[in-house]
Amino acid sequence: MAREFQRGHKARLSDLTAGTDLYVGVRIDAPGVTFDISCFGLDAEERLSDDRYFIFYNQPKSPEESIQQLGEQAGDTESFRVTLDLVPEAVRHLSFTATIDGDGQMSQVGPGYIRIVAGGEEVVRYPFTGAEFSTERAVMLGDIYYKNAWRFAAVGQGFDGGLDALLQNFGGEVLEDEEPEPEPAAQPAAPPAFAPPSGPPPVFAPPPGAAAPAPPAPQQQTPPPPPQQPTPAPQPAQAPAAPLPHHAAPTLAAGLAVPGQGGHQPVTPGPPQPPPSAPTAGHAPQVPHAPQAPPAPSFGGSFAAPASGGFAPPAAPGPTAPPGAHTPPVAGQQPGYGVPQAGGQGLAVTLEKYREAPNGQRWTQQNAQLVRVDLGVDGQPVLAKQGSMVLYQGKAEFGYKGAGIRGRIVGNATGQEMQLMRCSGSGQVFFAEEAAYVHPLELQGDAICVSAENVLAFDESLQYEVRRIEGHGIPGGALFTMQFHGTGTIIVKTRGTPVVLPVTPSTYADAQAVIAWSAAAQVIVSSQVRLRRQAYPGHSGESVNLQFRGAPGNFIVVQPYEV
């Protein structure tokens, strides 16, 4: 079972897990606030001496991929994969931070955590809540750092400024970010500033005009066009010495160069980037694809010479292919050719993002459409819709769950009938149905009304009954819904991304699209329905608008699909 850390706790990672391939998950959210979660790879002095190790949304991995940002998954707002064995000597301190993007402050944050998962098991977790913070706009959540051995520390320290202040704190420098304009790259220094620190790939220095698309180029294996050699004067000596101001620029600019936004255009007018002079048999840049002039050569390349560096997709590394991925000297990775069999990383890597979420809780959301229950956690059975199991591991048993005679009569009469099965035993079961989105709702003594066909699974500890909503204009005289109450989790499924609306004095919903509401809200059949019906000719006239009333704190859930 995972160890739970308090703020300030530290431990050697080897005491927590034998693994060095770690998954670091961060959960942090607050209503209406978005967060940027980043990882700073610092040196022994806790300075960001190499900004290729600043892993954030624009640079999702470090050059040798020892640190990768994986995105939202498995209940985590953001996740990283850290392969400690691959982390270079220069990086000794990984600081995981969350910063608010836009307005907001840390005290609004709900319960969150940072956790480390190794070998499919959560090994440590540091939970926090907004109550620990006040008006901070950033927080350093946890550190993985090297002191004789790799260690983990739960930091939980707030920070007043935003991401840029944090970056400055670590000795980084922020250029005008956010705007995909070419200036930042060109501005900070003379053109030669693009020399990559590690030097080996031949450098070419674009004139300022070609700034935006150029940064990726030096990291590609593309042999530099000879005519440009004179300009570079890359001063390899200078680059490593003062890498920051310059390097911040290429990374930001590269990441922001969105395709189709003109980011690539400069390539064409820029320096006469001749298609590589390398041995490209049969390589014929195809003019017809003029709008995409730079990538065009990739069509024409012959398969026979894929390893020759013959393809030059100069502008290719857009957001999809972060420049780091193409750094040839590192780790023997395939260089970023346009067409050929490059970029392939084998099955294990490509499937990594679909990996099973780590164990731990009873209910785990694997992704937007899949939920997993670990029956072993408290041995309590789960009731689920028949046929919703897609996979199970372990000794789970599935049995028919009858509704009873009375239940069946009520169910038949009201249409609120659930075909259920009971899952018991131990093991993990995945539930899903027709790729509908699943939403676990945790009830703690409160109640919720859900339409029976939107229930995917729920803990057996919950009680449920059919509730009747009366009103004029409803076909059949009344509407029925399922009311669940008690303590436990219910999984509700929706078609498409639902909207959760707070109940206000004027909250209306289509009776066919509303799927759940908190049971304390009062439902009234809206009289506006008749007006509405006339307003939309051709409407079947069978739908009913429901009005909800209730104290603040009540909500309704509406899906973008009318059953």
Binding site: G120, P259, G260, Q261, H264, Q286, H289, Q292, P295, S298, F299, G301, S302, F303, A304, P313, A315, A316, P317, G318, P319, T320, A321, V339, P340, Q341, A342, G343, G344, Q345, G346, L347, T350, L351, Y354, R355, Q366, N367, A368, Q369, L370, Q386, G387, M389, V390, L391, Y392, Q393, K395, F398, G399, Y400, Q419, M421, G427, F430, A432, E433, E434, A435
Partner: protein, 227 residues
């Protein structure tokens, strides 16, 4: 006409042989000599000069066991250009095999490099459910493969515990070839798993490897249904 809002959907220049455009469209950079097998009817757009050869003799031989015997619903694409493929909005998963091998459920395959070794297999022990058309394509070698999945799939390791992993055949997308597989039927009359028909069966996997499962039990072959 304002095209600002829709301009964001322009394709990015190709950086690899196969890439996703959005979540449910596959973009393949075609080049002479690098042929591709794709599901018949999956092409939604192409740029450049790409030709299609539905059901060429070579495929017919390779796929002689394709369950319905009508020949494989695959076409061979060749030429230069960019090819866009999709399967009725299903999510696309792009995989790169490097000396790996993989079995893919026949309805979940979208495209693969023609130079990969492949063959059509019938799922053992599932002959009883012939109506389901459960066949799979075994692919091995080094190259690119694109699968479709209704919803975001999950990859589950089988070798983790001593217990077997049981999968609803309708939700199964792919599995690593090394796994042992057996059909499992629940004989309890009261058992009601799977499609509500009262027919309860799952596929059990054991050994070292993984299975890929989609969050939907809808295995209908839309491309084929269209004809």
């Amino acid at each position: 006409m304002h095209q600002q809002s829709i301009a964001g959907f322009a394709p990015s220049p190709p950086a690899a042989r196969m890439e996703c455009h959005g979540s449910s469209m596959l973009k393949v950079a075609m080049a002479t000599g690098q042929d591709l097998f794709a599901r018949t009817g999956s092409m939604v757009a192409y740029e450049g000069f790409v030709q299609y050869e539905p059901n060429p003799p070579a495929i017919r031989r390779m796929a002689s066991q394709w369950l319905t015997g009508e020949g494989a619903p695959l076409m061979r694409c060749h030429g230069d250009g960019l090819l866009y493929l999709a399967d009725y909005g299903a999510d696309v998963v792009v995989l790169h095999l490097s000396e790996d091998s993989l079995s893919v459920n026949g309805t979940n395959i979208l495209a693969f490099d023609a130079h990969l070794d492949w063959g059509v297999e019938r799922v053992k022990g599932m002959a009883k459910f012939a109506g389901q058309g459960l066949f799979n394509v075994a692919i091995s070698g080094t190259g690119w493969v694109a699968l479709t999945s209704r919803g975001t799939p999950v990859v589950v390791d089988c070798g983790r515990g001593e217990d077997e992993t049981y999968v609803d055949p309708d939700a199964l997308v792919a599995w690593s070839s090394g796994l042992k597989m057996k059909g499992k039927r629940s004989f309890k009359a009261s058992s009601m798993i799977g499609r509500g028909s009262g027919e309860a069966y799952q596929l059990g996997f054991s050994g070292q490897g993984f299975v890929v499962v989609q969050p939907s039990e809808d295995s209908a072959d839309r491309l084929r249904a269209r004809g």
